[in-house]
Symmetry: C2
Subunit: 192 residues, 2 copies
DNA sequence: CGTCTATTTGAATGTACTCAAAAGCGGTGG
DNA sequence: CCACCGCTTTTGAGTACATTCAAATAGACG
C-alpha cells in the first residue's frame, strides 16, 4: 500500500480518513509472468496500480498482429478505461511481462471513493491529464518520426524499460516489425 | 454559454450556483479563419471550449512538416494541457480553420471553479477520460492500419469533418503526405 | 479576372514489410 | 553438465507501401 499512498500524495496528499477508506478497498493481487488480467471480449472490472513488476496492454489487428498500446511499471495505472466506464467488452489484452504485484480497485470501491472524497476526483483528474499529455506526445512522435528516430526516442525516454523488454515488445509498441527493428539496431550500431 | 452548460450537464449537471460561477468567469472570444490562439514557444493560458467553428492543434517536426494532433469542433475543448499545467512553452500551435466562437477559461478562473466546486473536478476528469480513450484508439489505428485503412476509418468516424477540412489537413492528421493521400483516394474511387 | 491554395499525376527513391531460414540464448530436465 | 526446447534476434532477397520533387490542373476567394 505504501507505494500507492505515496503515489496519491504526489498530487493532493490524502488525509487519514482517505487513506483508511482506500486501504480497506484496495485488493492486493500477485500475478505471474504471462498471466492475463484482462482478455479481449471481457469487461474491465478493475483499476490496477502496479506496485512492482511490468505489464503491457495490447490489441490485435485484423491480420493477427499484436500492437502494444501501453507498458505499465511501478507506480503506474493500467486498465481499459473505455471498457471499465461503459461496461463494454474490451478490445484489449493486459498481460504481465514480469511477475507483478498489483493494487486493484473495483468499480464499487472506486465509485465509493469518488463520491465520498472529492480529492480522488481531483487526483485521478490530474493523473489522467498526465497520461493524456504523454499520449499526445506519443501520437506526434508516431506520425512524425522514422522507425530509427522513434526507437532512439523510446530508449531515451524509457531507458529503464530497455533492459526489461525484449525488442519484439518495443517493436510492437513503435508499430514496426521485429525484423525491421533488428535492422534499425544494426544500422545504429554501425554508426559508432 | 448555452452550449457550454449543456456540455457540462451531460456529465454531472451544474446547479445554479455553479452555472453562475462559471458564467462570470468564461470569456467569449471570436476568432477568424487562420487566426492563432496559441503559438509554439508561448505558454498556453486558457482552456478553450469551441462553441462554433473548427480549430486544429499541430506541431512541426525538425524538417518543418506540420502534423495535426487534434481537431476541435463544436462542444470540444482544445488547449495544450502540458503547457497550461506546468507553465512551460508550448510545442504546439492552435489555429482556427474556420471562423470560430470560443468560451475561454484562464488559469485563475479554472482553479477557482475547481477549488470551490468539486463537480468541476469530476466533470473535467470524465471529459479527460473520454479524450484519453479516443487517443488510445487513435494510437492503435495509427500503428496498425495502412494509409488507406486509416483514411477510411477517419471518414467513418468523423464524416462531418470530411466536408469541412481540406485533404491536406486530413493527411497531416493521419501522418501521410498529401500527395500520397491523393493517390489513396484515387485507388479507393477506382474500386467502386 | 488574377492569385493563392489544394489536388492530382508521374517518375525515381527510400523506407518498411514479408517470408524463410539461420543463429543465439536462456531455462529445464535427464 | 549436456541436450533440447522455446523464444528472440539476425540476415537476406524480394516486394509493397509511402515519400520526394517537379509540374500540371483544378478550385476558391477577393
Amino acid at each position: 500500500m505504501d507505494n500507492l499512498i505515496t503515489h496519491f500524495n504526489q498530487y493532493l496528499p490524502l488525509n487519514e480518513l482517505e487513506v483508511e477508506a482506500l486501504g480497506i478497498r484496495v485488493i492486493e493481487k500477485t500475478i505471474k509472468r504471462r498471466q492475463f488480467i484482462l482478455n479481449k471480449g471481457d469487461t474491465c472490472r478493475h483499476y490496477s496500480f502496479v506496485s512492482s513488476g511490468l505489464l503491457r496492454k495490447y490489441a490485435i489487428d485484423k491480420n493477427g498482429c499484436e500492437f502494444n498500446i501501453q507498458f505499465a511499471t511501478e507506480n503506474q495505472w493500467i486498465q481499459d478505461l473505455g471498457s471499465f466506464n461503459n461496461n463494454t467488452p474490451s478490445q484489449f489484452y493486459i498481460e504481465a511481462i514480469e511477475p507483478s504485484i498489483l493494487f486493484q480497485l473495483d468499480k464499487n470501491s472506486l465509485l465509493y471513493l469518488l463520491q465520498n472524497f472529492p480529492k480522488f476526483d481531483r487526483n485521478f483528474r490530474v493523473i489522467m491529464e498526465n497520461k493524456f499529455i504523454n499520449l499526445e506526445n506519443r501520437i506526434f512522435q508516431n506520425i512524425s518520426l522514422s522507425a530509427e528516430e522513434g526507437y532512439k526516442k523510446f530508449l531515451n525516454e524509457y531507458p529503464e524499460l530497455y533492459n526489461r523488454l525484449p525488442n519484439t515488445q518495443i517493436a510492437s509498441y513503435l508499430g514496426i516489425t521485429p525484423e525491421f527493428l533488428s535492422k534499425v539496431r544494426r544500422n545504429i550500431s554501425l554508426k559508432d
